[in-house]
C-alpha cells in the first residue's frame, strides 16, 4: 500500500537546517540505577551536572535513560558529536575504554532493544545525518538489585572519568583563557 499523498503535502517542520541553541555535543548515559553497576552512567553524568569545574560547557547536553528510545534519534542530527556511556559486562581485568561507533541497522531491530549503533542508524535513516559517535564502556561486575556500585567498578571510576572528561575537552576546543 503506498503512503497517502496527503502526507507529502503536510507542512511539517523538518529538523534539517534548524539551528538548535543546544547544538554541540550530546552525552547519553544508559542503564538502570537500581541494578548496581548498570547505574554507572547515572553516577558519571550526575557528577558532571554537580561539578561546576567540569569540562562540560554550554556546548554539551546530557541525557540519561534506562533504555534508548527512537525519539532520541530526533536529537542526533542537531549534534556535532555524540558519546554514549554504558556499563560493560566483563568478567574482570578490563579497563574503561572509548570506542568509535558506527551506525548499525541491526541494532534497531526492536523498539525495546535499541542499541547505540542502532540509534545512530535510525537517525541516519530518518534525518540523513549521523554525527560522529563514540561509546565509553565501563566494566561492571555486579548487576543484581541494588543502588551501590561494586568495588571493582568503583576502582575504575577515575579512569572512566578521565576518558569522559577528555572527550568533552576535545569538543570544547582550545582553551581561550
Amino acid at each position: 500500500m503506498r503512503p497517502a499523498r496527503c502526507w507529502r503535502r503536510a507542512s511539517v517542520a523538518e529538523p534539517r537546517g534548524q539551528r538548535d541553541p543546544r547544538r554541540g555535543d550530546l552525552v547519553i548515559g544508559l542503564g538502570n540505577p537500581l541494578r548496581q553497576d548498570d547505574g554507572v552512567a547515572w553516577q558519571l553524568l550526575q557528577e558532571l551536572e554537580d561539578d561546576p569545574g567540569s569540562p562540560r560547557t554550554a556546548h554539551a547536553s546530557l541525557r540519561i535513560c534506562r533504555q534508548l528510545l527512537p525519539e532520541l534519534a530526533a536529537e542526533l542530527p542537531l549534534q556535532g558529536r555524540v558519546l554514549f556511556v554504558d556499563a560493560w559486562l566483563q568478567p574482570g581485568g578490563q579497563e574503561p575504554r572509548l570506542e568509535v561507533l558506527t551506525p548499525d541497522p541491526l541494532g534497531a531491530a526492536h523498539l525495546h532493544q535499541l542499541t547505540p549503533a542502532g540509534l545512530l542508524a535510525l537517525g541516519h535513516q530518518l534525518f540523513g545525518v549521523a554525527p560522529s559517535a563514540s561509546i565509553l564502556l565501563v566494566p561492571g561486575r555486579r548487576f543484581g538489585h541494588g543502588t551501590e556500585l561494586s568495588a571493582p567498578l568503583r576502582r575504575r571510576l577515575p579512569a572512566a572519568r578521565a576518558l569522559l572528561r577528555g572527550w568533552l575537552r576535545e569538543g570544547a576546543g582550545p582553551c581561550t583563557n
Binding site: M1, A10, V12, A13, L122, F127
Partner: protein
C-alpha cells in the same frame, strides 16, 4: 476434531499475552480468549511502605504511562493528607497529563498501529513494524517521532525526567513552570499540531477507503462507556466525576465519585488470565461490560472545550456514530485509533491554553500537612482509560492494603469480545482440520487487541515472568494435549 489456534506472543503491544481460539467439534469458533500471562505483585509488595512512596513506586509499574500512576497516587495522597491542592498545582498536573496522553497516543498510532494501516495487512510481517514504516514513509516516521518527542520533552520540562518523574506529590507539585519550558513549548507547538493534522487527514482517507471493513468488524458491539467528565460534561483527563453512558447515548450513571468505586464496580477473576475483569455492578458479570480510554472519553463527554478538538469530535461522531444513538456514540473498537488522534488535538490545545497562564509560573504549588485520613481513592485518566488507586494506611502512614484498577483491565471483557468478533469475520467457518491460517488473519486478531493499546505490565501489576502454556481443548473442555516452556 477440535483445534485451538494460538497466536503467541502478541507483537507490538506493551507487555506479553496469548490468544487462544477454541473451535467446537464442527470446526466453528466457539470461544476466543485474550490471556495475560504476566504477574507482578505491586498490590502486595507495596504493603508496609509509606504512602508517600506510592507515587514513585507505582510510577514504576510502567515505563509508558508512569505519569498516570504518579498522578493517581498523588491524588490519593492529597486525600490522606486532607489538603486542598492549590489551583496552579492542579493546572500543572493537568498539563503533565496532557503531555503524557499526547506522547502515549503518538506511540500507539505511529509506532504500533500505523504499520498495519500503511504497509498493509498482507505485507511482510518482518517489515510491518515501525522500522518498515521508516523505510516506506520516512516523513511520517520522522513526524511521529518528533510528536512523541514533544510530549516527552514537556514531561521532562515539567517533571525533570521523561520517565518515572517524582514531580507530582501529595499536596501538589514540586516546581512551577519555568520560563525556559514555556518558551520551548510555544516554539514546538505549531509543528506538533501540524503533525497531528496531517495524521488525521491521512487516517480519514484510509477510513473512507481500505479500513472500512476493519471499522465494521473490529469489536463493534454495544457496551457501556466510562470516564471522568468535568463541569458541564466536558472532556476531562484528571479531575471531575465519573460518568457512564450506554450505546444509545443515555447516561446510565453520573456524578459518581471515585471514593465510591466499590459500590458500582466489581472485579471478577477467571482461571485463564492474570488480568482482572472489572464490570459495572448493577448489571452483573459479564453483562456489566464497559469500555474505557479514548473511545469512551469521547463517547462520554458532551464536548471537549477547545475549538479544533470540538470540530474533530463532531466529525468523529458524524463519521462513525451509530444510528441507535442518533450519531452520538461510536461503538467500533477500531475507532480507538481515530479517538486517539482527536485526543492528541485536545491535548495540544489544552497545553497551549495552560502554558499561557502565568499563575503556573508564579502561583503556590503545594499544600503540606500530616496524615489526616486512613483510607483514600485517587483517580486519573491514563492514555488507556480510567485509573483508580485505593490505599488503606495505618496511623503511621504505612500502607496496609492497596487496590489498583488499571485502565487496560477495565477493557478486558471488551478485548475478549473483540477477538471473538474478528475471528468469526476473518477465519473460515467452519475451519477445515488441515487448513492453514494466513498471516494477515492472525495479524487482524492481534490488531484487534492493539485497538485498545493495552498495557499489560500495568494491568497485572504482578511479579516475575511466567511460563508459556499452550492447550488444546475438546468440546467437553478436556485437555487433549499440552505443552509448556519457560
Amino acid at each position: 476434531m477440535t483445534r485451538t489456534i494460538t497466536i503467541d506472543p502478541v507483537t507490538r503491544i506493551e507487555g506479553h499475552a496469548k490468544i487462544t481460539l477454541h473451535l467446537d467439534e464442527a470446526g466453528h469458533l466457539a470461544d476466543a480468549r485474550f490471556h495475560v500471562v504476566e504477574y507482578r505483585g505491586f498490590e502486595k509488595f507495596c504493603e508496609g511502605r509509606p504512602f508517600t512512596e506510592m507515587a514513585g513506586i507505582t510510577a514504576r509499574i510502567c515505563g509508558i504511562c508512569p505519569v498516570s500512576h504518579l498522578l493517581a497516587a498523588a491524588k490519593t495522597g492529597d486525600k490522606l493528607l486532607a489538603v486542598q491542592v492549590p489551583p496552579a498545582a492542579r493546572k500543572l498536573r493537568k498539563m503533565l497529563n496532557l503531555a503524557q496522553l499526547c506522547q502515549s497516543h503518538a506511540l500507539s498510532f505511529f509506532h504500533l498501529s500505523s504499520p498495519d494501516f500503511l504497509l498493509g495487512w498482507e505485507s511482510d510481517p518482518a517489515r510491518r513494524n515501525v522500522f518498515g514504516l521508516m523505510a516506506a514513509d520516512p516523513e511520517l516516521a520522522r513526524a511521529g517521532i518528533r510528536l512523541r518527542q514533544f510530549g516527552q520533552q514537556v514531561l521532562e520540562l515539567l517533571g525533570g525526567r521523561r520517565i518515572h518523574s517524582a514531580w507530582a506529590v501529595p499536596g501538589g507539585v514540586r516546581t512551577p513552570l519555568s520560563a525556559e519550558a514555556k518558551a520551548w513549548i510555544l516554539e514546538r507547538l505549531p509543528e506538533a499540531k501540524a503533525t497531528v493534522a496531517a495524521a488525521l487527514e491521512l487516517y480519514k482517507g484510509l477510513l473512507d477507503g481500505p479500513l472500512q471493513r476493519e471499522q465494521r468488524t473490529f469489536g463493534d458491539f454495544p457496551s457501556l462507556f466510562l470516564s471522568l467528565v468535568g463541569p458541564g460534561g466536558q472532556w476531562e483527563c484528571i479531575d471531575g466525576l465519573i460518568r457512564l453512558v450506554d450505546s444509545t447515548g443515555a447516561v446510565v450513571a453520573d456524578g459518581l465519585r471515585e471514593d465510591d468505586y466499590a459500590s458500582f464496580l466489581g472485579e471478577a477473576v477467571e482461571s485463564w488470565s492474570y488480568l482482572k475483569f472489572p464490570y459495572y455492578k448493577p448489571l452483573g458479570y459479564p453483562a456489566g461490560l464497559y469500555r474505557v480510554g479514548p473511545l469512551a472519553r469521547l463517547n462520554v463527554c458532551d464536548a471537549i472545550g477547545t475549538d479544533w478538538a470540538d470540530r474533530e469530535l463532531q466529525e468523529f461522531r458524524q463519521r462513525s456514530g451509530t444510528a441507535d444513538s442518533g450519531g452520538r456514540i461510536v461503538t467500533s473498537s477500531f475507532a480507538y485509533h481515530h479517538a486517539r488522534l482527536v485526543e492528541i488535538v485536545a491535548c495540544l490545545e489544552g497545553i497551549e491554553q495552560l502554558v499561557l497562564d502565568d499563575t503556573l509560573m508564579n502561583g503556590r504549588i503545594r499544600a503540606r500537612a500530616s496524615l489526616n485520613a486512613n483510607e483514600a481513592v485517587g483517580v486519573s485518566e491514563a492514555p488507556r482509560g480510567t485509573l483508580f488507586h485505593h490505599y488503606r494506611v495505618d496511623d503511621d502512614g504505612l500502607i496496609t492494603r492497596v487496590n489498583l484498577i488499571i485502565a487496560t483491565g477495565q477493557n478486558n471483557l471488551a478485548m475478549n469480545r473483540t477477538v471473538a468478533q474478528i475471528a468469526r469475520e476473518y477465519i473460515p467457518d467452519p475451519v477445515p482440520p488441515d487448513a492453514g491460517i494466513p498471516e494477515p488473519l492472525l495479524n487482524r486478531v492481534e490488531a484487534g487487541i492493539r485497538c485498545f493499546d493495552p498495557c499489560l505490565s500495568c494491568s497485572t501489576h504482578a511479579a516475575g515472568q511466567m511460563p508459556l502454556r499452550l492447550e488444546l481443548h475438546d468440546a467437553a473442555g478436556q485437555v487433549l494435549a499440552a505443552r509448556q516452556r519457560g
